[in-house]
Amino acid sequence: MPVLIYAENADGKFKKSTFEAVSYARAIANQTNTQLTAISVGEVSTDELNALAKYGADKILNVANAQLKNFVNQAYASVIAAAAKKEGADIVVLSNSFSGRGLAPRIGVKLDAAVVDGATALPEQNGGKFTVKKTAFSGKAFATVEITSANKVIALVPNAYKVVETAKSAQIENFSAEVKESDLKTILKEIVRSTDKVSLPDAEIVVSGGRGLKGPENWGMVEELANLLGAATACSKPVSDAGWRPHSEHVGQTGIAVSPNLYIAIGISGAIQHLAGISSSKVIVAINKDPEAPIFKVADYGIVGDAFEVVPKLIAAIKEHKALA
């Protein structure tokens, strides 16, 4: 039975995390030599849709219903579940984004499917058992979940699976499905994007500041470092609790769990709750005055020193590095 991937777009463009999910879904389809169908909802250009084939889709369903231009989890779930039924797909894959997390459980209920959110690796299908590894305890652990339902919904975390290009091309078909009136009780009034910033959950590099920075007026150097690296900015819980930075930047057990290639912690001591949120980072750099700070126990690289002296030197060194490259 084929696999269905919901290809989420933002303003008509697919993000890297979507292509990761397409590549991941392709690999799941390959496990049982089956087809991969992608479904896109909203206004997306043909060129952009064709990119889904590049990452492994055999067929692309395009839903261009004007009522569905903006994301409404109820209505999108109806259309995606209808597509899964029409295609005979028993596995639906999507990205574990903010929208994906509101969508996956609804698709699961519609298809009588278990939902595995936060998947970090390909499923294993052995001796009739279907298992998927996912994050648990807010990054302090992983759980391997056995799915016992025939249908399955899997949401993949960003930066957990590498995009793989294929030589495929695919037909684009228009797809429509009935949307109930009760599915459209949510109206989008406004989207507010901080366009000059890299999105934290998707970021490949994150520069994060803690209480060691002493006050919000000292974030200029954090932002400068982040800009130079094409990184997102983040912070620890005490910093967002104090109102120095918005809650949306709070990384940790009760904030956002990140999984970047590089996480730079500046003036963050590394409370257990913070370490939970960064445990999936590939490389961690710590800059802290206190050589005994717990952050150095999880860091791959560290500088023991005053952030106010070290960070400007780092900025200068990166500028030099970029000039040479």
């Binding site: 997390r101 519609k110 278990a114 939902v115 652990a141 406004e190 005053d306 780092l314």
Partner: protein, 243 residues
């Protein structure tokens, strides 16, 4: 206005997570259990919107969760319901709460955006689907305006502002409200507030956890001298290959 707040009993955020029985069971030995921090935010906002008399809390759990339920009553909920069953998976929990919500009218159902143990953030949207109601899974602001809610939803790199017809289900994140600390009057009255125990409805789970692991230990830290930032950049470029 009547609001149902779904609460979970979870390990304290400072817990070091370990496992027993060949990594198949979470080791609860010595673990302090608390009201899930996101549910505290939901409860605080519910009390702001509906007043204490308008708020009911519901938990799916065995008798061991009662201290957490009493904490929610101390914070200010008027009454509580405990579905007498272990919370086996998100579907099981959503189904049980859905059954209760179908028999009792609520204008708003709040959950935390996720529980800090299994992090599914699934119950809010599953409830929405079961009750054929709208849902917003990760909300950072909730206002009520007549028969509508104005909800801000987190998205990557920004937010969406939505208006949604009541009743609806919302998963609350930071920003919705400040957690409310119980006062002495609340703590005293929590002991006598009604806590109804309901037996669970028959339903199959559709997943189970077969094993756990903790993240692979990281290697030793490579320290670079404070005055040699260029060396760190070089290591990140040539050794770690991340910039």
């Amino acid at each position: 206005m009547k609001i149902l707040v779904c609460i979970s009993n979870v390990p304290d955020t400072t817990t070091k997570i370990t496992f027993t029985d060949n990594n198949t069971q979470f080791n609860t030995n010595g673990v302090q259990f608390i009201l899930n921090p996101y549910d505290e935010i939901a409860l605080a906002r519910a009390i702001e919107l509906a007043g204490e008399s308008g708020v009911t809390v519901i938990n799916v759990g065995d008798a061991g969760t009662e201290p957490t339920i009493r904490k929610a009553l101390a914070i200010g909920a008027a009454d509580a319901v405990r579905i007498n069953a272990k919370p086996l998976d998100a579907w099981f929990v959503a189904y049980q709460i859905g059954q209760y919500a179908k028999q009792n009218q609520f204008d708003l159902i709040l959950t935390g955006r996720e529980s800090i143990d299994y992090n599914g953030s699934k119950v809010a949207a599953m409830l929405g689907e079961l009750l054929d109601l709208p849902s917003v899974s990760i909300a950072k602001k909730i206002e009520i305006d007549g028969d509508k809610a104005i909800v801000e939803r987190e998205i990557e790199g920004g937010k969406e502002v939505l208006t949604v017809v009541l009743p609806l289900v919302i998963g609350t994140a930071e920003g919705v409200a400040e957690p409310k600390i119980p006062n002495m009057r609340g703590i005293m009255s929590a002991r006598t507030k009604p806590l109804t125990i309901v037996e669970p409805a028959e339903v199959q789970t559709n997943s189970n956890i077969i094993s756990y692991e903790t993240p692979a230990p990281r290697g030793q830290v490579t320290l670079v001298a404070a005055d040699d930032a260029a060396k760190l950049i070089d290591l990140l470029h040539t050794e770690a290959r991340v910039i």
